[in-house]
Each structure stands twice: as C-alpha cells, then as structure tokens.
Amino acid sequence: MESEPILRPSTLEAGQVLDGFKLEERTHQGGMAHLWRVTYAESPSRAEAEPPAAGATPMTPVPMIMKVPRIKGGEDPATIVGFEVEQMIMPALSGPHVPKFIAKGDFTRQPYIVMESIQGASLKARFDLAPLPVNEVVEIGWKVATALHELHRQHVVHLDVKPSNIMFRATGEAVLIDFGLSRHDQLPDLLEEEFELPMGTGPYMSPEQIQFIRNDPRSDLFALGVMLYHLVTGERPFGAPTSVSGLRQRLFRDAVAPRTLRPDCPPWLQEVILRCLEVKPERRHQTAAQLAFELQNPDQVVLTERAERVAGTSTLNVVKRWFATLGTEEKEGVSAADQTVKSPILLAAVDVTNAEPALLEAVRHTVQRLLQTEPGARLACLAVMKTNRIGMDELVEADGSSKHVNMLVQLKHWARPAVQALAFGHKDGLQAGRVTFHVLEAPDAANAITDYARKNQVDHIVMGARSSGGLRRYLGSVSAQVVSESACSVTVVRAVSSRD
C-alpha cells in the first residue's frame, strides 16, 4: 500500500480500487468535486461471508459515494481548504440528519471522503417548481429546522444552507450535506484567513456572514428563511447578487413582504419568514428548534407588525442601518452549541383536571424557577385530553361547552401566576411567544407527552407525580413512563405536603 503512486483525480477510472473501495461509476462531475459510487472491493462484513441465521434480516450494505476534490493546478486553495474542513468536521457528526461518514483519504496521496449515499434528489428540484403549496413549504421548513438544530447541538454551524445542500431520506428526515464552509465551535477554523471575500452562497448568506462572522448558528436560520421565502413566493428575497456591494444590500433593505407576492400566504408564515430574515441575529428565532416549533404550531405564532408588513424600507432607515453595520465583530460567547443551551424549550405537562392543587402549585413553582434562570427559554404548557381508543368521544361537556376549550382555559389559569411573575419588571411585559399553550387529544397521556417532546425538540419536561398510591397502582405512573421513554431531561415534581 505504501508504494502506491500518488494519484490525481483526473487519473481515477471506473473499476479502480482505492484503499479497499472499488470505484463503480462517476455519478456527478461538479466544479469543486466529483462523486463516485463505490463499493467495498472485498466483502468487509462477516454477515456476507457467513450464511445469515434463519429468520435474521440479511444485512443490507449502506450505499456509498466517494467525494473527490477537483484540484486545479494549485490555483484554487479555497477548494482544498474547504475539503480539508469537511474531512475534519464530517467524522465528528452523527445521526440521521447527516450522511454517515465512512472513510477519508490522505492529502499526501489521494484526498477523498467516503460517505453514505443519500438516495433521491436534493431540494433543488422543488425550487424549480416554486411557488409551492403552503403546506409543503411548512413541512420542508420544519424538517430542515429540525436537522439544523441537531447539527447546532453537535457544535456545528453549516454556513452554506441552500437547496442543493439539503436532501431527504426515504423515512422523511432532512439530511444536510457539504460541510466545506462549516464551523465547528470546538475545532480550529481553518477558513479564518482564507478568503478576502465573504464565504457562502450569494442569495442565502446572512448579513453577519457578509461581515465575516462565522460563529453564529442563527446564520443558518437566515438562510432557511431565504429558502422558505423563495418556496412561498417563487422569488428570492434579495435576488442573486454577485458583488460584495450587492450582497451588502440586505444589511440595509428588507425584502418585499411575502404576502405582497403571494396573497394566500398566511400572516403567521410571513411573520415566521420575516423573523428569519431579520438583519440582527438577536431578533431572529434563537434556535432552530424554536423555529421548528413555530412551524409546527402555527396557532401559537405571535403576530407582530411583520405579519402585516407590505412596504419595503424607507430611505431614512436604510441610512440608519448603514451606520449601524460599521465596526461589526464576532461576539464573545456565541457558538453553535452555546446558543442551543441558552435557549432551551421547556415543556410543562400539567394534569389540570385531576391533579391536587398542591401538586399543581409545586409544578408551577418549579417551572417558574427554571424560567427565571434561563432568560432565553421558552415554555410550552401542555395538557392531555384523554380520548377512547375505540369509539366516539364526548367532545362537549354536559352544559354544551367544548371540553377542549375548557381545558385550555384551565391550563392558562394554571400558568397565569408564573407568567405574571416573569413579566414583572420587564418594560414590555413578557416577550411575545415565550409561553404557549397546547391541549392534545390522545388515549395515552405518557405517549402523547413523549411524542410531543420529541417532535418539538423539547430540552426539559416538568411534570407532577401522582401522589395517591391507590390511583398510581391502578393506572400506572405517567411520569415514570415519560422518564423512561423520553430522550430529554425530565423533572418529576411532588407536592411536599402530601408526603406524610
């Protein structure tokens, strides 16, 4: 192996074997890299060598691609550094929202990355058909936001979110690809000095990226906002500028409001998209999970002036904003993972109809304490309305009022003292949208709670424990089931007075 000659990408041919990978066919020829479909030259797994045990599922080998950078005679160090970054970051990533990393090849011989091949087309194909139905845009939005949150939690800001870098698994999850411009907050930034021009793709680049700031995960939310805008309206909010002065326009001028171009875009969606496109990252959603949450809970989006906006930006505001951009620098304490830790989603699962008053109060106190120590946190208050597994449910009370509405009223009543305590001392009252209310209808409370927490990327569940032994023995413990089945932290609260 050591004596193998140095190979150049141009010399790679179908049928060739490189470090045990057989090059089957070249599937893509790009400006920066070529892609090859590859297989293991020799069967690597014993599962194939030995006959599978009766009844066992035969192991399906993961389809693989090899990405090989195009090195153009040394004139383009950016391509090489981008590939170096990707070789550094990909092995550090895991989960369904990224292609599985398999192997990498040394720059001293032949640089490559072998990774899982994600079947299907990128999101780019859908963009050619924009505008798309609102439902589809929203679904794409929350799937991509969910993937971005997972990436940010793994310390990485993507910094080149665009349709051609997003794929979907057959199971539905969005997969992010191409980490050549990404930044890992626990690894050196190899691109720091590399470029004289802003790094990214013109239409999608956030204002802070244009100002050479590379550590803010909210940059990816801006890019997602650009994509959602495009999918809803069929147009790009800031065009496709090619010059730096063209790029900088987005620092001073707002995009035309989506509803001006697409009148049936719901106000809540315009609110969400324009929030993503805010120039200052502090005014966007603070995490991708918070954005995904709004896209899945449209009735909980608090509408502001953004929802009804029609006009662009006045000349005076353009001038003001131009001055505001002078001297922008990377902020201390902003990084992909920090941002997700500082802005958690808290879920209070409250059995408003059955729990003892003392327990309800104890849960509320716990929630309040957590919110006070986490100024960036959001609280979702959740009650589960039990339905029958089979047959029709009574959805109205004896007096004709809706059970669902009554439960919501009780839930809001439960939360009021905590909400008031939080709003006290804030000059604008409680930050809009920080507390939301949800009533779910489900036969099994524990399943409903864990499902909701998983879909909304909840970080911490707070709930009460049934105090009376009899009921718990008879019905089982909802909290115990939530604790054992949830992926996030769960705090189970007891009312101290009942423990005698």
Partner: protein, 247 residues
C-alpha cells in the same frame, strides 16, 4: 502511538502525579517533557527524578529556562520571586539531579515532530509565543510538521498553510482535534504545574501519531496540598495563591 506531552511542571508533585495517572488511564505509550521541571513548586527533586526515569525509558525531555537557571544561577532578567525560588531549588537538588538538568538538550526532533521549550527560531533566548505572528515565525524556523512547545502556560493551537494562511485556536478540554496533513501545527499544551488561564486544573496534551489527532486535557489535582507545601518551604506566599486561581 499515543504520546503524552507535559510542559512547565514546575516542581508541582501533586499536579504531575494527577496528570501522569490521567495519561496512563488514557493509554499513553510515550511521554515528552518540554522543560521547566523546577521552579515555583516545593518538590523539585521528585519531579526531576520522575522525568529522569522516563527519559531512561525512552521519553523526550528538553531544557527550560528555569532548569537552566538552577544549574547556571539566576538570569538577570528574572523577577525577584523567581530568583528566590531558583536559589532555594538549587539547594534542594543533589548532584545527580543537577547534572541531569545540565545535560538536557535545547530541542529534540523525532520524525516530523519538534520538541522545544520556548520557540523554534532561537530556543536559547526564551522568547515567548504570544501571537499568531510569533507562532508563524516559529513554524517558518523548522521543517517539522508538528512543533510542541511550552513556556507560555496557556493551552493554544496554531496552524499554518503552505500558502501562508494562519490561525489560532483556544482548545476545548478533551476534544479530539484532527491535525490535517495539509498544514503545519504548533501545539502549546499549557502548564502541568502552574496553569495561568484562570482554570487551576493541570494541563497536558495527548497526540495520537497514528491518526494525527490531538486532545488537550485538564486534570484537577490537590492544589491545597501543593500550596501548603510551598508555604511550609518558606517560598513566596503568592506562588501558593496563584495555583488556586490558575493565574
């Protein structure tokens, strides 16, 4: 091969004991000691013996300015408290230990790795690497792909491309960093015996030569005991206090 790199041990027996135990539990197979084995702390003899035993077993060790001062006499540039410690330390060491310090090389090259206390451009002058510019100067002064140096007491990682682009990075504890073969690297593991970045836990680095990955580790140790010994030895009180604050 997993190589543990310790520097600026400064006669801190408690810290060095904790670091060596951590390195062993992380399967270190080889050791490099980048100088300043003595000075500031109360256990110079114990630390010199430990380094000496490891060198006999194949470890790398290079000379630091405090080691030189102890067998040569204090330098005129030394601050008074350092000068006092140098004289006290000299009195603690036997001739074998002093001879060992005097015999240390200024730098060692092992394959693609350079080990040196202060910098690569003039190891005997003890200039500090405090910026990217200094790091680049050092990286241009050697052909080695990896430079390991101490002297700074702050963990730091610098890199340089063939096109002259550079970067610096303050490492996160325990994260494995792949060191790309596309650039050259300068590694400052931080001080084992007297950290100065505000975190009192002892520093060292572990380099896996097979996978070219580097991890900076922080190891808590009994700094109260180390401080008490400094006070009991009659050394300046501030030397005990600064261990507690990591400054």
């Amino acid at each position: 091969m997993k190589l543990a790199i310790l520097t600026d041990l400064h006669a801190n027996r408690e810290a060095v004991t904790a670091v060596m135990a951590h390195a062993r539990s992380h399967r270190a197979e080889r050791y490099a000691f980048l100088g300043d084995f003595v000075g500031y702390g109360a256990d110079p003899g114990w630390v010199v013996d430990l380094v000496r035993e490891h060198v006999a077993g194949g470890a790398v060790a290079v000379m630091g300015n405090h080691d030189q001062a102890v067998f040569q006499g204090p330098l005129p540039t030394m601050i008074p408290e350092a000068r006092q410690v140098v004289e006290w330390t000299r009195a603690q060491l036997n001739s074998k230990q002093l001879d060992f310090l005097a015999s240390l090389p200024m730098s060692v090259i092992d394959r693609d790795m350079l080990f040196v206390h202060a910098n690569a451009w003039a190891p005997k002058e003890w200039a500090y690497i405090t910026s990217r510019m200094d790091a680049v100067r050092s990286l241009y002064a050697t052909d080695a792909r990896y430079t390991f140096c101490g002297h700074m007491h702050l963990p730091m990682l610098y890199h340089l491309t063939s096109t002259g682009k550079t970067g610096d990075f303050t490492p996160s504890q325990g994260v494995a960093i792949p060191l790309s073969e596309q650039r050259r690297w300068l590694v400052v593991p931080g001080s084992a015996g007297q950290p100065r970045d505000g975190n009192p836990a002892a520093c060292y680095a572990m380099f896996d030569t097979a996978s070219a990955t580097l991890a900076f580790h922080r190891v808590p140790y009994d700094l109260d005991a180390a401080g008490a010994k400094i006070i009991a030895a009659g050394l300046p009180l501030r030397l005990a206090q600064r261990l507690a604050y990591g400054e």
